[in-house]
Amino acid sequence: MPATEYQGSFLGRISIRRNQVIAMDGNHEQELEDLEHFQKHVSDRFSELLSPPPEDVPADALLSISWLRKLLDVFLCCDAEFKAILLMGRDPSQISKPPLDRLIPELLERAVKALDLCNAVTNGVESIRHCQRLAEIAVSALENKPIGDGQAKRAKKALTSLLSAMNLDDKEGTNTKTAERSWSFGRRGANKERAPVRSLSYQVAKNWSAAKQIQAMANNLVAPRGNEANGLASPVYIMSTVLVFVMWALVAAVPCQERNGLATHFPVPKQLSWAHSMIGLQDKIGDEWKKKEKKGMAGLLEEMQKLEKLGQSLIEFTDSYQYPGETEKVEEAAAQVAELAETCRRMEEGLVPLQMQIREVFHRIVRSRAEFLDVLDQGGKSSMPLV
């Protein structure tokens, strides 16, 4: 994993230097240099995420699976570096005095909320996998040449389920909306009411809302001003922003419980140089979201959007399809099927690793939080109990 390589060398450097200067109690110049490096790394990493993918690797597009995986890598790197700056070789009392005694507990609060978001997104990926499998059914049916009526129907059925699974109202975690059943055979005459077809979509908890969590995380996020801007308050702010951004982007990409009204992102001051790329990404994702908000809540994941678009058009195709089909239409569909197949392949390759990476992030957040608490505990024995 690139994340580990990256942090390895960096941590090594910091720790060696810290050991050398440890006796001098907070060598300020050294610290400023560390901060500068951190800002630069954050800036570099995000500008890489912002830069458009090379033409020949469309798989890396914004909000694609592989882009999300890169984003998570970025998070892991930033987190490692952040901890190195704040914790390594530092006297615990340094981070338990103002303003850090307030800022760090706030960061840790955000971390707790991020854990739920990780879980919500994991659930979301689960339902994306369901969509992927439905798309695969359609692909396998429509890859036949020529396409039989039965196969067209089979594909249509799978795609209809796919689209209805995508357009679930995400307010209800466990969905009870009746899927479109027009494709169903049999049951002539008696259109009896039947149990709604349930899909794979699970709640984090009753009344839990991804949107509210993100908003709560962003609420008290204020850039340090004046003197604080040069001290350790600054990396805490940067890391908080990274955390909120990463969570926001995940929620934007992956369907999860209750995420209305997140299109407007949280504000990051424009004058901060490290934040430029992040703001760029915010704008792009925000625009995408606004475009998408009106129709359904499938999430902005690039692959899912593909599934939706191709699904819709292939449903139209299968709707009117009659063996042996019109050459022109069949050819057009074949191209779409190929694209769908390619998308499915990318999902097959990427979703499980993505899910595991989200879990890794989850565990990392827990661990980092514990490390901070430990240090705060030692530094601030006399002060209020934390968190």
């Binding site: 009526d149 039965g150 089979r154 042996p324």
Partner: protein
């Protein structure tokens, strides 16, 4: 699946067929295809190549065929077909392979003769399907009919026809329309049985009732769910939401048809979604509510404490009932597809395990506080004890992941448990109150600490394990600092410097050492040395009693500690005796009373006077002191009496005669030795009674 059982009502089908045929054509089918198909069928009969043909194309198919006879012919056709190119075609082989094989063998099989009755058969079978698929006669889980079996047999036949013929004749060949028609029929029935599969899975999720189990046992030819030991099933929550055996049979057959028909994906999705929902539902029913980590984090302990038993119950229920039940269910429904069963089972339950573990993680990161320790240990034990049960159910890769996840959660709980236990140190250190407990009684800190330790030791084995496991992790983790509890065993305060002492025992010793030191400091708050001795005795006694009263904590502290503690107590006792009573006994000293063999009366009077005053004073103060341990109280009184009374008695015996009887005696001898005894017995019961009132 071999041969269709002929129904006795064969003859009835004939007239019916003709009547329904026409509407059916208009209704469902595209006439064009129908006609074409018939032509093709006829054509196929014409260009016969003469090998393997067992059935002559019947000259008058419309009149002669019924569903049954046509089915028979088709079966024969299919079995010949499969025997030609040596393709193993028993329906349950991997369908992908089939297709490939078919393609390979295309040249060999081009001579396949499509029987003339095929079109007719398709007509029949479509009609059969239509009849069956009305809501009134859908597959009935509980009373599967002969009809269902025939129906599924037809489904199988159609699938075979499709896979065989589509392998030989491409859709763009001249047989295309025919293949297309079969494909359409197959899709239709597959879609139908998929719905039925879903319905059965959704609607039939019933808890197996005891009476039903009997029924199951009676018909022993099918797998039953669950048979997991609970015979009488008094506890409904032990039930696995399964299906009666008839339904299982049907589910199994449908799954088989769907998979061999190439509709494996559809089948699996339906299975996954419905069963996952069943599990969610069941968990909800046994009282497990999903709570977000954030919520757990903010919750008051009183509320969270109530959630923990529900979680433990849910975890155990999953480990012992639901997951084994799911495993068995998937194997019952998909017995011929072990790897499919594996992946279905993992997909189904993996998320549930993670979700359950998330709660443990959430609890682990909630704010630490002393009272949480025991619930933490409960969670720890659950994670430790119930993992093996789950572990064996999962295919290796998934088991590995879940093992790692569970271990992580368990470590986190363990680590936090250790922190909580170690926080006891801080709470002892920070108890610096300057107000002495009145009467030298047992300090609340002693009570709290000892009761806490005693409770902790009820989890002794677990705590020992937690300390051992966690210490290892701690050392490996370089970024976080080593906590103080390590190496505590070497401290000077410890009584037991055994090298082999467990980390927990070391920590416990450390806590006891701190408590001792704290009490020592508190004893200094008493100005009266006697009282501080009583205080130390009281507290020491309390600890000793607690430790002796619980085998677990006694085991950890060891006999050496207890012996040392007892001898400490004896020392305090001696000090107390000396401080209080040696002074008093000084009054009874014979020295200085006799000068040249004569008793010096003023001195004697003075002695009596000061004895009386001193004893009264002692009675007054020490009567208000508290020794609540009865044994200690009586030990003290006995030992006091043993020194004071004989000395007083002998002093009186020797010197009372020198006082003039009457007023003088009355004035100076206020106590008879029995009075002394009575007054001694009034010491240490916390009532400052004055003697005056008594007299």
């Amino acid at each position: 699946m071999e041969k269709n059982l002929h129904q006795p009502d064969e003859n009835i089908t004939k007239p019916e067929t003709d009547e329904i045929e026409k509407p059916d054509q208009e209704d469902n089918e595209k006439k064009e295809t129908e006609e074409k198909g018939e032509e093709e069928g006829g054509g196929g009969g014409g260009e016969e190549q003469g090998e393997e043909k067992t059935t002559d194309p019947d000259p008058q198919p419309e009149i002669e065929y019924t569903l049954e006879t046509a089915s028979e012919d088709i079966d024969r056709f299919l079995s010949n077909l499969s025997s030609v190119p040596k393709q193993d075609k028993e329906g349950d082989t991997d369908d992908h392979n089939e297709e490939e094989q078919d393609k390979e063998h295309v040249p060999v099989v081009t001579g396949v003769e499509i029987p003339g009755c095929l079109e007719k058969y398709l007509d029949f079978v479509e009609e059969e399907f239509s009849k069956h698929e009305t809501p009134e006669s859908k597959l009935k889980g509980y009373q599967p009919t002969e009809d269902d079996a025939t129906y599924l047999k037809s489904v199988e036949r159609i699938s075979k026809l499709y896979s065989n013929l589509s392998g030989v004749f491409k859709l763009d060949s001249d047989k295309g329309p025919l293949i297309n028609r079969i494909g359409r029929i197959q899709q239709r029935v597959m879609s139908y049985i998929e719905d039925e599969f879903r319905n059965l899975l959704e609607d039939s999720k019933v808890v197996i009732e005891p009476d039903h189990q009997k029924q199951d046992q009676a018909s022993s030819d099918h797998c039953e769910l669950p048979q997991s030991g609970d015979q009488s099933n008094p506890n409904p929550e032990n039930d696995f939401p399964g299906y009666p055996s008839e339904v299982l049979t049907l589910l199994n057959k449908i799954a088989k048809e769907m998979i061999s028909g190439g509709f494996e994906s559809e089948c699996c999705e339906v299975y996954l979604i419905t069963r996952r929902n069943v599990i969610e539902e069941s968990l909800k029913q046994i009282g497990f509510e999903k709570i977000s980590i954030d919520e757990v984090h903010k919750m008051h302990w009183e509320s969270l404490e109530r959630e923990i038993p529900s979680w433990i119950k849910a975890f155990k229920q999953c480990a012992r009932v639901y997951f084994p039940g799911e495993r068995k269910l998937v194997e019952t429904i998909f017995p011929d597809f072990p790897s499919l069963s594996d992946s279905l089972f993992s997909n189904l339950t993996r998320g549930v395990v993670i979700q359950l573990l998330n709660f443990a993680e959430a609890v682990a990161i909630s704010k630490r506080s002393q009272e949480k320790l025991f619930k933490f240990l409960d969670i720890y034990e659950t994670l430790r004890d119930d993992l093996p049960a789950i572990d064996s159910l999962f295919p290796e890769e998934c088991a590995k992941e879940l093992r790692a996840e569970t271990t992580t959660a368990r470590c986190r709980i363990g680590e936090t448990a250790i922190c909580i236990f170690c926080d006891l140190e801080n709470s002892i250190k920070s108890d610096t109150s300057k107000t002495p407990v009145p009467g030298g009684a047992v300090h609340p800190l002693t009570r709290y600490t000892m009761n806490y330790l005693k409770l902790t030791c009820e989890y002794k084995d677990t705590v020992e394990q937690v300390f051992k496991d966690h210490s290892k992790i701690e050392r490996a983790d370089s970024t976080s600092r080593p906590r103080n509890y390590e190496g505590g065993g070497g401290d000077s305060q410890n009584y037991n410097n055994d090298e082999n002492q467990s980390p927990f025992a070391a920590q416990l010793m450390r806590v006891m050492g701190l408590l001792d030191a704290n009490l020592e400091a508190k004893s200094k708050l008493y100005k009266d040395i006697s009282l501080s001795c009583i205080f130390m005795m009281n507290n020491g006694r309390y600890m000793l009693q607690k430790i002796k009263g619980s085998a677990e904590i006694h085991q950890v502290m060891g006999d050496t500690w207890c012996r040392k503690r007892s001898s400490d107590l004896r020392n305090y006792h001696k000090n107390y005796q000396r401080e209080t009573w040696t002074k008093l006994l000084g009054c009874l000293n014979h020295e200085g009373l006799m000068v040249n063999g004569k008793v010096v009366k003023p001195v004697l009077k003075e002695r009596f006077k000061s004895f009386n005053a001193m004893f009264e004073e002692i009675h007054k103060t020490q009567g208000s002191w508290v020794v609540s341990d009865e044994q200690l109280q009586s030990e003290l009184r006995v030992s006091i009496s043993a020194v004071v009374i004989p000395a007083y008695r002998s002093f009186m015996g020797r010197f009372s005669q020198y006082l003039d009887p009457g007023r003088q005696t009355e004035k100076y001898i206020k106590f008879q030795s029995e009075d002394i005894e009575t007054y001694i017995d009034e010491l240490f019961d916390g009532n400052p009674t004055s003697m005056a009132r008594r007299r």
